[in-house]
Assembly symmetry: C2
Homo-oligomer: 120 residues x 2
Amino acid sequence: MADDRLSLVFSALADPTRRDIVARLAAGDATVNELAEPYEVTVQAVSKHIKVLEDAGLVSRSRDAQRRPCHLEAEVFDLMTKWIERYRRKAEDRFLRLDALLGQMGEQPATDTQGKEAAS
Amino acid sequence: MADDRLSLVFSALADPTRRDIVARLAAGDATVNELAEPYEVTVQAVSKHIKVLEDAGLVSRSRDAQRRPCHLEAEVFDLMTKWIERYRRKAEDRFLRLDALLGQMGEQPATDTQGKEAAS
DNA sequence: AAGGTATTTAACCAAGTGGTTGAATATGAG
DNA sequence: CTCATATTCAACCACTTGGTTAAATACCTT
């Protein structure tokens, strides 16, 4: 239902096992078997996890004999960071403007404009 | 299955409708009905989406008569950014070291070390 | 008290997910 | 060719998810 890139990336990272795999790949490339070793689940399950990461563009793979080494694609992180920063900045700007507004109002009567800003 | 905070946050943002809601809340607080208006789904469905965002700590709510205004909690973004930056930095450092290594090797015979760096 | 608006809860359904086991494929080693 | 290793595919299962409709709750207005 959500097959756009950002959805795939967030969805992929919503699973702690997959985040752990990403964390380990950040330290260096690894094969499916190597990645599967620390977990109690079957290697097939880990293979599926890797496929999810691959579909999201977080991981790429090469061929080394029977092995399929996994490599972390760092650029995809930029996609997330960009999205996150965009709205965080908006929210913070709004917060700062509100803050300034409250500062202004401190020097005035301040009547019916309460209740909404009290939340922050 | 994944009830830690980061999983909840990533999972919440994996849905495009919920990301859209976050985007709109970044511009200002809004009620459930206001948020539901642009979509074709029922207001109950949107109410569920908001609950997911709330459980993830991305949204907080207050009370205004019958209304329950939603407010974007920007701090949670830091949690994500921290996680992302941590592993992106690791991956980039590793990439830079590889780059330096390849630079060194450029002054030497350079035999079987090709094919891996071509991807970047 | 009665009615209207805003929101949530409950029960249900189709589709998706993470796991399993068992069989298939791909490649290197004898 | 045969065997072992590495990985994937297929079928299945329990559970979750995003949606629905119908009913309940919360609060204001008259």
